[in-house]
């Protein structure tokens, strides 16, 4: 992946002089172009602090706008505060001041779909392309009428990382994970690390264990059902699994303070942890951080399940959606998603595409880890497309924090979470 970025950067170098004219801090295209599209994007690509990434995207945007001389794209940056950004975007669209086209985190997509502000982009995407999307992606970006309301341009998933010098075989079940963790503790390491603090990552990473049992957070109408009937048992089993990890010592008590995936990279670099539950993007980070011989010890595997056959992993990523009803703008927005981001944009950053065809198209996906990621994605579960999800996540974070720190018993914590979610749902 790194060489690819380098190659792209080198290829971009001669074109840089021209690129600078067409790409400025808040515009792509010529200032006097008659048509304008406003596009709100994250600071991760075209305006990345990483020069190689920035150069690659400047090149992609330059080619894109050269083919459309009548257009200029006015770019608006969004900060990394997803919660505040979405609140701001909602405010602006309701006041009629929103951008024509925007990047929306996949976790917020359901909410925006519900507000009815997203505009279809079917003229850009063929039925075949839609059919080739992973099922959870297709379901999230289309509505019942088959309209494409957003394009999910990359996805991510959670996997189990392990140091094979301590844990040679990938644990496939919860029980195996606990034993491997305890064995690692005997070998003087921390067993298994995972997010356990107060943030979205904690709930989302843990939910894989609920979903692996076939649990459901909401019913078909979007009403919370996670604490009822069978789902209740599944919730409690998954909570007990995490609690046993901490109580047995297979996971250190400090997990309730981990609110950041970078903490796992640090532990891997320091050589103090044997396993962690991390994101697929960390594989590239570890390769860049660790000395080659140390990196060679690290391997990824699917998250363990209650049994070998019950597996799941949470999937996220970003989407691009049109907010303007204007047909030409909707089209351009879809084309940005398709021609710049999904495909070349994926490959340049080593991000996971959302359709199988793209994996075959780029050399960037030849590494063995991508075979594992693709396999695990078969068990991928996205956040439910319900507006109550953020509050469910919030309450799960509180429940796990209370249980893992010994403040509450699982049953009582689950009841409190269910009551709070229900109260919030009733007022929505």
């Amino acid at each position: 992946m790194k060489t690819l970025i380098l190659a792209a950067a080198l290829a971009a170098a001669p074109a840089l002089a021209q690129a600078q004219e067409l790409v400025t801090r808040n515009r792509v295209g010529l200032p006097d172009a008659p048509n304008t599209l406003t596009f709100r994007l994250t600071a991760y690509d075209l305006y990345s602090s990483d020069p190689a990434t920035k150069a690659t995207f400047e090149d992609l945007f330059t080619d894109f706008i050269r083919a459309r001389p009548d257009w200029k794209i006015e770019t608006q940056l969004q900060t990394g505060n997803i919660g505040q950004e979405q609140a701001r975007l909602l405010q602006q669209t309701q006041a009629g001041r929103g951008p024509d086209c925007a990047m929306i985190d996949s976790s917020q997509l359901a909410l925006f779909k519900q507000t009815g502000t997203l505009q279809p982009m079917n003229m850009v995407f063929s039925d075949d392309e839609i059919a080739d999307l992973f099922p959870y992606v297709r379901e999230a970006v289309t509505n019942e009428a088959g309209e494409v309301l957003a394009w999910w341009w990359f996805t991510d998933l959670r996997v189990l990382y392990r140091d094979t010098s301590i844990v040679p075989d990938a644990p496939q079940t919860w029980e195996a994970l606990r034993e491997a963790g305890l064995a690692a503790v005997d070998a003087g390491r921390e067993g298994v690390l995972f997010n356990g603090g107060r943030w979205e990552g904690t709930a989302f990473d843990w939910l894989a264990h609920f979903w692996a049992q076939g649990g459901r957070l909401v019913d078909d109408d979007g009403a919370p059902v996670f604490a009822e009937g069978e789902n209740r048992e599944k919730m409690l089993r998954a909570v007990a699994f995490y609690r046993d990890l901490v109580e047995s010592g297979a996971a250190p008590a400090r997990v309730t303070a981990i609110t950041d995936y970078d903490a796992f990279n640090a532990a891997a670099a320091a050589g103090t942890a044997a396993m962690f539950v991390g994101g697929n993007w960390q594989y590239g980070q570890l390769r860049a951080t660790l000395p080659a011989e140390q990196f060679a010890d690290w391997a990824v595997s699917e998250l363990p399940g209650p049994t070998e056959d019950e597996r799941a992993t949470g999937t996220g990523g970003w989407t691009i959606a049109a907010l303007s009803p204007d047909e030409a703008k909707r089209r351009l927005c879809g084309e940005i998603a398709k021609e710049i981001y999904a495909g070349p944009g994926n490959a340049a950053q080593g991000l996971l595409p959302t359709s199988a065809a793209i994996y075959d198209r780029y050399d960037a996906y030849d590494g063995p880890e991508f075979d594992l990621f693709a396999e695990a994605l078969q068990n991928g579960v996205a956040r439910p497309g319900a507006a109550i999800y953020p509050e469910i996540s919030n309450q799960i974070q509180i429940m796990l924090g209370d249980v893992l720190s010994g403040t509450a018993e699982p049953e009582a914590a689950l009841d409190a979470a269910a009551d709070a979610v229900q109260a919030a749902y009733d007022r929505q």
Binding site: G196, A263, A423
Partner: protein
Amino acid sequence: MTARPDRGPGAGFAQPVPWLAPAVLVLAAFYAVPVLDVARLALSDATMVRPASGFSTEALRGVLSDPALPEVLGTTLIFVGVNVVALQVVGLVIALTIVRGEGRELPGMAAFRTLVLAAWVVPGIANGLIWRMLFDEAPYGTLNSLLGYAGLGPVAWLSDPQMALVSAVIANVWQGTAFSMIVFYAARRGIDPVLYEVAALDAAGPWRVFRSITLPLLRRAIAVNTVLVSVQTLNTFDSILALTGGGPGRATEVLSLFTFNTVFYNLDLAGGSVLAVLLFVLGLGMTLAVLAAGGRNPS
């Protein structure tokens, strides 16, 4: 400095209205409508997604009957109370020590003052991020490593619910001390030096000087500072957000962070407005309590 009769120049009877008008007009123009809007939203069913459809006390009842509210309020009172005491004690110690150092013409006092002030300017979120790394409980974590060299620890800085609140206070004291330091430094320098010279002639010890001169004469400064620091601390949420997110569980979720989560995470505008009103009432209540305890009005 108590209210004095108007015997200044100009008209015999002064009319305060024109003098207050600019301040009041600007507040009215830019602030009155939004503030009234908050009160209106608190009595509605508005969310960030959906505008208010009419009068409703559901949000009010929902928030007040939320079983999490007592816990959050308790955390808030502890956080604010401990901070107000800690910020002022540290601020006072620093101010008095600097004054002493300057009196003795010791070098380095200005540099130290600047260091404390610099912490005040660091954005709250950055403050949380820095301390999160310092409190890292991994085997190689900074503070625990330092304690380890001294044969102490390790401390469960952020993973233990009680300790997490202490850690949040430490991070806040690091950032907020500067304000108290400035106020106390100025107040101490404002005390007539003759008083200290007299005390020196009486051969009074430092503790007696502090008890019978410095502390009584700083009483007003302490009262005013308590009000200002309480209000500032009550509204602090960004550093905790970055430090613990309010966790583990709800261990460090103070009212302002709870409000933030309600509005920006749960998108519950009506509920958030109720909480904002609650925050306001709490702030006003604390102010009046401090002023009453101070025994004198602040004019």
